[in-house]
Symmetry: C2
């Protein structure tokens, strides 16, 4: 006998239970009528989207989510729906998956392994289940698992021991560079060991700082991937099983890392704008590489008619910066404004003359310029209802090479988790599709242009040294001594990590941005501001 299982890789909105239920029902009907599926599997916590964070602590929210399951069960028949929801237990909540068929619940599984590291806080909300759940459908014994369950050894084997012939996994597995390879490698190995075919359905879409990349897949009992859905796109697919053997189907290609990262950033911008109801975005274009990349990403995410840019030159802005900014705007077909900042800078200089009398110029004066730009951009954002994008990269965020309320002002920071060298790589990648960033922008030395002939390398180690130090310190938690032992210069290591430590206060006030590395700032790396630890 054959079984057809549909994988519903869908982009849900966190918290919008009624819209999510509607989307689930539509997808199930499509899977039943168009794909002739017997079962349709949705991602983890389908009903609420993932992660719903502290909404999960609200009784009204949980009640609505549980009620939605009953509504859904009656809404769609003649196909089994495997749906995730926060199940109300006795005084506790479970991260559960329920099988709905012909108006009744065939089975309900409670997630056993609750991740509480990195960006995950599941032990804040959920109580762990304690047993596997295997149900019979059309004569096949099917086990249910949820995300982290299949990353740890033991759960897949327990399903096998309980008679499962096939495993379904509901997931909300966020993207970072290389994650898709890691995910498939680990899970395929476990499947191979247990000889239990597995259907893996992942959420897709952006949710604040997280990107869920989809790339749902099916593994046969030998541990071979026989089907893979697209990354970063919604897709409802069906796989036919001969008894419990999945028949080989289309495998979407795995993108190369740079292409994946680019697409993750595009999806992140698109979903933040769309899900939060903005009409478009706005950004300051400096003629530098960072804002050039953010502009290209924004246009690729939203279309050129939804993007507007502002050039805000000062006395320190070189002509080539203005020229290149105009070239970028023109190449991408976006409207640009030019507003020189001198009048505001002069006004503040005059207003502060008395209190600053006798002091010497320092970064204060540089910050005033950046903050005048912040005021202009925020005024335009307020007036037009457009989201202001900031253009700072991860290297700058790490060492605090940015002005609070200046270039850090904005609602969303697309490349906040993109190290500077990767900014260059992404710019080159984008130009390989079509040339939109002038070569001179990629080639010239990076500068904040807040003082005469300033370049980043005046204040920081060159990025070729800085970025790997930061990766080791921020992403890998290596100590200063470890990093020095790996061959980096002691003074550069100490300088870099001291700056990282000292600038936690700045990062705490930065807008959210898209996680693409193994460890982003924010919920992924929770550091105290007040800290006496000096690991140097």
């Amino acid at each position: 006998m054959t079984l057809k299982i549909a994988l519903a890789q869908i982009n849900f909105v966190v918290g919008n239970i009624s819209a999510n239920v509607k989307r689930i029902a539509e997808a199930a009907i499509y899977a039943r009528d168009q794909l002739k599926a017997d079962i349709v599997v949705f991602p983890e916590l389908t009903i609420t989207g993932y992660p719903a964070e502290d909404l999960l602590l609200r009784t009204d929210f949980i009640a609505e989510a549980n009620n939605a399951i009953y509504l859904l069960a009656e809404q769609v028949t003649d196909i089994a729906l495997v749906v995730g929801f926060p199940e109300q237990g006795e005084g506790v909540i479970y991260n559960s998956a329920v099988v709905l068929y012909q108006g009744v619940t065939l089975a309900c599984y409670r997630k056993q392994v609750l991740p509480n590291y990195g960006v995950f806080d599941e032990q804040r909300y959920f109580t762990a289940g304690t047993q596997p759940c295997v149900f019979e459908f059309n004569g096949v014994f099917i086990g249910l698992t949820i995300c982290e369950d299949v990353w740890k050894s033991g759960i897949i084997e327990a399903n096998k021991n309980n008679g499962a012939e096939l495993l379904l996994t509901l997931n909300a597995s966020p993207f970072n560079a290389g994650k898709i390879h890691q995910r498939e490698a680990i899970i395929c190995q476990q499947v191979k060991n247990a000889e239990l075919p597995l259907v893996y359905v992942n959420q897709v879409g952006g949710q604040d700082e997280l990107i869920f990349d989809g790339a749902s897949f099916v593994v046969d009992a030998l541990g071979q991937v026989v089907f893979r859905a697209e990354e970063f796109k919604e897709q409802i697919s069906v796989i036919e099983f001969d008894d419990v053997n999945p028949l080989a189907s289309t495998c979407a290609p795995l993108y190369n890392p740079i292409s994946s990262e680019y697409q993750a950033l595009v999806l992140g911008i698109k979903d933040y704008v769309r899900k939060n109801g903005f009409q478009g975005v706005l950004l300051g274009l400096s003629g530098g590489i960072d804002s050039a990349l953010v502009l290209a990403l924004a246009v690729d995410a939203l279309g050129s008619d939804k993007v507007e840019v502002v050039l805000m030159p000062s006395q320190y802005t070189q002509d080539m910066s203005n020229e290149d900014a105009v070239l970028e705007a023109d190449a991408l077909g976006v409207k640009y404004h030019v507003i020189p900042i001198a009048p505001a800078v002069n006004a503040f200089t005059g207003m502060l003359a008395e209190v600053f009398e006798g002091t010497t110029k320092d970064t204060t004066e540089e910050n005033i310029q950046a903050r005048c730009r912040g005021v202009i951009l925020m005024a335009m954002s307020n007036k037009k209802g457009k989201l202001l994008l900031t253009t700072g990269n991860k290297s700058e965020m790490s060492v605090g090479y940015a002005t609070l309320y200046g270039d850090m002002a904005g609602g969303f920071a697309p490349i906040k988790d993109v190290p500077k060298l990767l900014v260059y790589a992404l710019a080159r990648y984008r130009n390989s599709l079509s040339a939109v960033i002038p070569e001179r922008v990629i080639m010239r030395l990076p500068s904040a242009e807040l003082a005469h002939n300033q370049v980043d390398a005046d204040s920081l180690p060159v990025y070729e040294n800085l970025d790997p130090i930061l990766e080791r310190y921020v992403e890998l938690d290596q100590s200063a001594e470890d990093i020095i032992a790996a061959g980096f210069k002691r003074e550069e290591v100490i300088r870099a990590i001291t700056l990282v430590d000292r600038n936690e206060y700045k990062r705490r006030q930065s807008p959210p941005g898209i996680k693409i590395t193994s460890r982003a700032f924010g919920r992924d790396r929770r550091y105290p501001i007040t800290s006496g630890y000096r690991g140097v």
Copy 2:
């Protein structure tokens, strides 16, 4: 026989292991030589301070903390030290308490109940211990417990069943209004049930958003508090036990709620400034009640010579606001500057004239004023190396009645968790000690003074209605229907909670502030920005 146990209620700096070890050794020597104590008990995770957050994920940090225990054991003899530290297990970390005596470890206990709710993330870092730990000292059997252990039933009984005659508890229990009563009530009841005397040592001091209030105490077997240390102060005390019965000693009085809250705020400012090495603070003084209160708190925390204020009047600032601001500065003896904002506002108006042509005035123009003030204050903060305090209260933070990068600009937000009605109560309380805030400031209608004759009540429900709605929604997680059923007007409830939901993005970029309610924004209430949930 008698036993003397010292309670070392000390203000540690998170992460500063070497300084903390020095302080522990000094306190132990003082307890031994001056107080003639046999045992000295320190707070939870003494070595690292609490909470060290993701520092706990670093192998260099954990190694240093574990090494510090060995150093300490050899450093102080002839008194038993009970010290908390993050114990390195096999591939895992425990939240442990160790008993050091004559250079060796007498006992080591691993915390069994790891809180992972509210501000706590202990399951992110630690593995739970599984058994009680009772050790013999001078013929007395003493049990060890850590913080959350004694809030849950079972652990105290298990110690009793394992032969404990006396219980020591190491704590890092953060302050909120009423917490001290709740803490003593719950623990005394458990002690009474088990008939096991208990020594409770709490950390004291401010750490970013948390205040640890000290108020360490000793409970006899009948569940009576026989000793209590001061709130909000360091104190090393000794209690004599006759066999295992604690002899009655001094009980520091419990302050009334308003006095506790005031002192918590003062300590929060003081420790944030001191532990982060600022020379002083700066704030904008508007003539309104919020900045008046923050000024008084800052002066009480740091002294008037460490506080500087700036008056930044606009065309909308009433004369009485300027007059009252000057009165406040004079009453508290702080230096003030007057910098009218018109030149900068006019400059921006001119610069934006072309892009704003044909639009009507809205909050954009109000925000420009607030942001000009932000630029002035930040420039002074940068130039002088003084911490800028923001003056927004919790009611404003809840509904977003504040300007990002304007009045929200600053490094620390002392009254961010203080609802508006409590701002008034705290101002009156402060005036009851000595009159520093002009009565007119307390009596007049609150206004942002960003437009002609503007008052807060133009945009918001009056605070007498708004604050209780916010308390129910934000602190108690009540639904809109629950709040309406409690007697609040439907339209005001919907307006208030819609504003709370919509302004998560603003709060995400606000500076840290001092938690004094049962639920502050930030790590205590983790909401998605992108959320389709509308509980109305």
